[in-house]
């Protein structure tokens, strides 16, 4: 999966699509399997990135072994009846509705009737304290934006600079379950209810086996496993597997207005996962990239076939937009790789807001501009094309350190590399369509980032023009094979009708 953050407009259509399909139920009102956060901000649940509070993810101990930070065998046994690091409901938000009927049915009185907010958990009137995106678009607030755990690595001066009024900016971070390669939730579950499906890598919680120990809620560093207080089971994003099995993209991806979401097959070498998850913090991203193998490599194809991967899946891996963004072009980074779960949702970091400089306009320069270039009427030039822009990647409105804390465990070079690639493609397209960039400059920009004109064209196509079938390359699910691994279908052959997997309540 790849989310292209440069394209996200923060409309929350994905969240609403997901909510309407999956979590519009009693006990699930507070869950947002898909949510969109404003960054800088504290997110949902509050400060989920701060593992000193929530104790999620993996730690590498002194001897180099991986262990769960807040769960595991010994800790799990000690805390099994009372998991100490769980978020409270107020860390998410207490779900509420309004007593609209009171507006109509209130008895005659001196006061105007009001629709008081009532809790969806207790049914009692309540003070609304939070919502799922309470700090939406509120970049500068001291209560939320300035408490972003990622600011920890920035000096006070750098933080101050970020929140100066004229520099203030924000971007959106849509989040779903990362369907990690080394999922901490799976490792932490005392009941063995969570598993990663072999055929497509979707991480699922078996609702029949779940015993509500809630170790997964603690263990997931992304806080994407939620406890349903009504059913007494934990739930999480299922990547719309019923849709995927039918060849449709997950609802959040299908409904995405900005078309930021891509999904495709990535072949990986599971034997290397442990080594990759135990790599040094600075090597984590590259180690994870090494786990993903080249689907065009003859050796890889042969071993995939030997392991029973269907030809259609290998074909899909070759056409995968995810493979292109992640491996071929190297434009994407995982969210918080330092949690060591090897998340398989990769983000193209945001170049936005558009980097530009404002300076006194040069009329002679202005004459050379295409009509597309914006100019200020008062002779100030809002310039998005000058040669200095290349240098401004390092001085972006978001300090590289901030983005690096989100996407590359602090490695600013990795982030700068991705941003320069984004910039190089823009320079290339600017050369093609606007014409105010010289060919030498365009070629130099591509050369420095290791892109070619073809790959730049490919990136442009997949970023700006891609259709459904380009963005979502989903192979046939081959459910029949997965089923036959677990049961002998001959057992029910010859039975009347369709048969029943579970006894109906009446009849039979």
């Amino acid at each position: 999966m790849v989310f292209h953050l440069d394209k996200c407009i923060g409309c929350h259509t994905c969240s609403v699509a997901c909510k309407n399909i999956w979590t519009d139920r009693k006990g699930a009102e507070y869950m947002w399997w898909n949510n969109v956060e404003t960054k800088p901000g504290t997110g949902y649940p509050q400060k989920w990135e701060d593992q000193d509070i929530y104790q999620g993810g993996w730690l590498k101990d002194a001897s180099g072994n991986l262990r769960l930070r807040g769960a595991g065998k010994a800790k799990g046994l000690l805390n099994i009846f009372h998991n100490p690091h769980l978020p409270t409901v107020d860390d998410y938000y207490e779900p509420f509705t309004y007593r609209y009927l009171n507006l109509i049915e209130a008895p005659p009185g001196d006061d105007q009737p009001t629709a008081r907010p009532v809790s969806l958990i207790t049914g009692e009137p309540m003070d609304v304290k939070m919502g799922p995106n309470w700090d939406d678009d509120l970049s500068g607030t001291p209560d939320y934006a300035r408490k972003d755990p990622n600011l920890e690595h920035l000096s006070p001066a750098e933080q101050e600079a970020m929140f100066q009024l004229e520099r203030m900016a924000f971007f959106y971070l849509p989040r779903i379950c990362n369907h990690c390669l080394n999922p901490a939730c799976v490792a932490s579950c005392p009941s063995g209810a969570i598993y990663k499906r072999g055929e497509d890598g979707i991480v699922l919680i078996n609702q029949k086996v779940c015993r509500a120990w809630r170790m997964c809620v603690t263990a997931c560093p992304y806080k994407k496993s939620y406890y349903n207080w009504h059913t007494g089971k934990s739930e999480k994003c299922i990547l719309c597997f019923p849709r995927m099995e039918a060849g449709y993209a997950p609802a959040c991806m299908h409904s995405c207005v900005g078309r930021i979401r891509y999904i495709g097959v990535l072949l990986y070498d599971a034997d290397r996962i442990h080594a990759a998850a135990s790599a040094d913090t600075k090597d984590l991203v590259n180690a994870q990239l090494d786990v993903i193998v080249n689907p065009f490599d003859e050796e890889v194809i042969a071993s995939a076939k030997a392991n029973g991967v269907p030809d259609s899946t290998i074909k899909a891996a070759q056409n995968s937009p995810a493979y292109k963004f992640i491996k071929e072009w190297g434009m994407a980074l995982p969210l918080h790789p330092e949690f060591r779960t090897l998340p398989m949702l990769w983000y193209v970091p945001p170049l936005l807001p558009v980097m530009a400089s404002v300076r006194p306009g040069d009329q002679s320069q202005k004459a050379k501009l295409n009509d597309m270039a914006k100019t200020w009427t008062d002779d100030w030039l809002y310039d998005t094309s000058t040669t200095e822009l290349w240098g401004t990647v390092e001085q972006a409105r978001f300090p590289l350190k901030y983005l690096a804390s989100l996407f590359s465990a602090g490695d600013t070079h990795a982030v700068a590399d991705k941003l320069k690639k984004l910039m190089a493609v823009r320079i290339y397209r600017r050369f093609k369509t606007v014409g105010d960039v010289t060919e030498e400059r365009m070629k130099a920009a591509l050369r420095e980032t290791g892109l070619t004109q073809e790959s730049a064209e490919g990136i442009f196509y997949l970023t700006a023009l891609a259709k459904f079938n380009d963005r979502f390359v989903i192979p046939p699910a081959h459910r029949e094979q997965a089923m036959e691994m677990l049961e002998f279908t001959g057992d029910v052959k010859g039975n009347t009708g369709f048969g029943f997997r579970e006894r109906p309540e009446r009849g039979l």
Binding site: I53, K129, M130, D143
Partner: protein, 292 residues
């Protein structure tokens, strides 16, 4: 498993093709014919020893079930075959003789046997011919305190059987202070000695007639000493044990319980001392809301 079993005869037939197959069948037929008569009596005796002798004697008097001497004169052969195959279904059908027997012997169901009809006939034939003898009761020393202790240890599993059979308390319970929460899968054994007597107990323990018990002790037969010890223990319980009140510990239990609970709670409090009880934004909420 099931598939593997059905495949075997198939492959055998394939191997024994043509004339060799015919010959094999012919030899098998000859063998079975010649040995039929004497084999029947032997098979009957074997089956009796294995399946019946735990509860029935021939001429040795009542044990768990009736003495079978001359049973073929009292009942018809067909009735006996049906009864041995499945006494419970005969009782269920309301056969008057069957119901009377069931009532007379304490509503104890005789286990069904899974013998093919020919084997059943052999067994009935054996019963008809067997003379039997009043088996002399083995002289039994009075239960010593040692035997009773050993029996208790074996019953509750603190000592294991020589051949590794499961402890009695896995499935059975008795009313005795020393046994806390014996199993409820099988019959309560407090009055077993009164009901079955020493020879009945010995028979059952030597070769269990109940399918589940037989399976559990298959290849793990109890030794004579073990049987004596268990019998002694069950005898020591006596019929009065079923009316006995549990030992009263009075204040000691209450104090011990509260102390234990207190200790556990202190332990939990220590373990959960650092648990998260407040939302991250508590200070913001306190400032921004009026408070409930």
């Amino acid at each position: 498993m099931a598939r593997a079993l059905t495949e075997t005869p198939m492959t055998m037939t394939k191997r024994l093709t043509g004339s060799r197959l015919v010959m094999a069948w012919a030899i098998a037929g000859l063998l079975s014919w010649s040995g039929l008569a004497s084999a029947q009596a032997d098979a009957g005796a074997q089956h009796f020893q294995k399946l019946c002798s735990a509860c029935h004697s021939i001429g040795g008097g009542k044990r768990v079930g009736p003495d079978l001497k001359g049973v073929t004169e009292r009942r018809s052969k067909e009735w006996l075959v049906k009864w041995i195959a499945s006494s419970s279904s005969l009782v269920k059908q309301g056969d008057p003789d069957a119901v009377a027997l069931f009532e007379e012997y304490g509503k104890l169901t005789m286990p069904d046997t899974a013998l093919p009809p020919a084997e059943l006939e052999a067994l009935v034939a054996y019963l008809g011919g067997a003379q039997g003898s009043a088996a002399p009761e083995r002289p039994r020393p009075p239960p010593s305190a040692d035997d009773i202790d050993r029996g208790l240890a074996l019953f509750q599993g603190s000592a294991s059987f020589q051949k590794g059979g499961p402890a009695c308390s896995a499935c059975h319970h008795v009313s005795h202070d020393a046994i806390v929460g014996g199993g409820v899968l099988a019959k309560e054994l407090t009055t077993a000695y009164e009901r079955l007597g020493p020879s009945g107990l010995e028979g059952i323990l030597k070769s269990p007639p109940f399918p589940v018990m037989a399976r559990a002790f298959h290849g793990k037969e109890l030794s004579a000493q073990e049987i004596d010890a268990l019998t002694a223990y069950l005898q020591s319980l006596g019929g009065h044990a079923q009316y006995a009140q549990p030992r009263a510990d009075g204040l000691k239990l209450l104090l011990g319980g509260s102390l234990g609970a207190g200790l556990l709670m202190a332990l939990y409090a220590a373990l959960w001392r650092r648990r998260k009880t407040e939302p991250v934004n508590q200070r913001i909420f306190a400032r921004q809301t009026l408070g409930e």
